[in-house]
Amino acid sequence: MTPVALSVNRLCKSYSNGKEALKGISLSVPEGSFFALLGPNGAGKSTLINIMADTVVPTSGSIEFLGHDMFSERLWCKGNIGVVPQEVAFDPFFTPREVLSMVCGLYGQKPDMNWINDLLERLELAEYADKNTRQLSGGMRRRLLVAQALVHRPPLVVLDEPTAGVDVKLRRRLWYYMRELNASGTTILLTTHYLEEAEELCDHVAIIDRGNVITSSGMEKLLHEVAGSYLWLRYRDGWELGAADAEALSEFNPRMHEGQLCLTLNRMHLRQSTFHHAYESAMQRFGPPLDAGVCEEDLEDVFLRLTREEAV
């Protein structure tokens, strides 16, 4: 069994306004993995990350990080995690090179100029290394934020939506860089709203919603076991699924997605017979569709189905 880098145990957080952001989350992130933490807005992803960054104080529960208790050995843990927060912000007084050597110093390390230059080079910031951070574009600031989290060479890097609002070209570059980092042995915990990004990069995935873990497993396992196939049916424009119809078709977990009615096909039976049953049931209620087809679920479908089921 692979050793565990991060083990979250029954972590709870209630904010002072009464919002329960985490309701006893348990997760385990294997060492060396590229772990996707997914969930809709308000699921508790950032709360979990902010607890690791020590900007949010948990209500109860514990986190074990490489064999150290995160809350009793705070300083050790902080020194070995690099967090890229969601919001981009910089002290307006410094240049990227100064920012990086300062972060190094705060982490108790002598700034290693070769490594800092290497980071600036790789994240394509070398040209701007000695300009004020105010002069950097949004994309450069985002990359500087990544460099800042890596400059003390932590074994665990946590990225909170690093590619949000980032253009395609830069997103690809960040992917490339994160992959390289992971290949060199760094454990990466990534939150993102781009599910194809998670599917592309990550080998492990957890989906959380409303402060609970819905599923957590290897990416392939999830796609293989949890992902099923579904029948989609398209009717005239503006067609809606009524509550009575939804009730009658409940065994297929009916839902609307991009104007199409989707019916889950059960894997437990032979696909053909499930398909036939689903199709016949829809025909009986709605008549023949304009178009129809069968699709394998990708991560996005699984995500939508699981987070929707929770809502019911």
């Binding site: 020590d54 900007t55 007084f93 110093g105 705060l106």
Partner: protein, 253 residues
């Protein structure tokens, strides 16, 4: 102990005010000099009642100390508030520095700024006035304790404030009145008895008076007795800052 981290934070805090030194060093020194010129001409050669000094000589150490106190406060408070408003304070919270290391770095930078501003103010004056120091030890102890207290107040005020508005409220409604009414511009012996009594409850009174005593050799209270009060107050401020930073008061959710 993360010594390098503490040193780095100290350097950062120093760097912040030195980069904008016109605003953080030259401007406050100039303000103090303007006060001095204005009062010099308004008061003439009048003597301070009950002391063997003229008003001008009396004013200089008080103004130097007031400037130190205000700048120590400004250094820590502005750093924390800017951090909160711009959301860069999270990098400090994430850094592997203990609360006491953070507090030490912040306070050391505040003391340094206070000392630099006061030195600039006094150096500008040296060609024009006789600045003999009666007891250098007192000047040093009061100057440093005062800057620690105000640097600490600035930390607490900065943590409390959500934005620049609430920060300037603390500054204008608490800090400024306390420093102005602490006997910088008058000897408390000139006050009615009730206000003389009240002045003894203003911690800034002891700071200004003791500091001035170091320069002039005369004052309104026993400076060696006041050292106890001032040092105790400085220690209490540091301990409060330490505790508040440790629990992340108004910094962490």
């Amino acid at each position: 102990m993360n010594l390098r981290g503490t040193w780095t934070l100290f350097k950062r805090e120093t760097h912040r005010f030195l980069k904008v030194n016109m605003q953080t060093v030259a401007a406050p020194a100039l303000t103090a000099i303007l006060y001095l010129i204005v009062f010099r001409y308004a008061m003439g050669d009048r003597q301070v009642p009950g002391m063997e000094v003229d008003y001008f000589t009396f004013l200089i150490p008080g103004l130097a100390m007031m400037t130190m106190l205000q700048n120590a406060f400004a250094n820590t408070s502005s750093s924390i508030v800017i951090g909160k408003v711009m959301n860069v304070h999270i990098y400090l919270l994430m850094a592997p520095l203990s609360a006491i290391e953070m507090v030490i770095a912040f306070l050391a930078a505040a003391v340094l700024r206070a000392v630099i501003v006061a030195t600039v103010f006094l150096l500008v004056l040296t060609p024009f006035v006789d600045l003999s120091i009666h007891h250098f030890g007192l000047v040093l102890v009061y100057g440093i304790c005062g800057s620690i207290i105000m640097g600490g107040m600035g930390l607490i005020g900065g943590m409390w404030s959500e934005n620049f508005d609430s920060m300037s409220m603390v500054n204008n409604f608490i800090i400024l009145p306390l420093t102005f009414l602490s006997g910088v511009f008058y000897s408390i012996k000139q006050l009615p008895p009730l206000w003389q009594q009240a002045s003894h409850f203003n911690p800034f009174f002891y700071l200004i008076d003791g500091f001035r005593h170091g320069f002039l050799g005369v004052g309104d209270s026993d400076p060696f007795l006041s050292i106890g009060i001032v040092a105790g107050f400085a220690l209490a401020t540091v301990l409060t800052c330490w505790h508040l930073w440790r629990i992340g008061w108004r910094l962490k959710e």
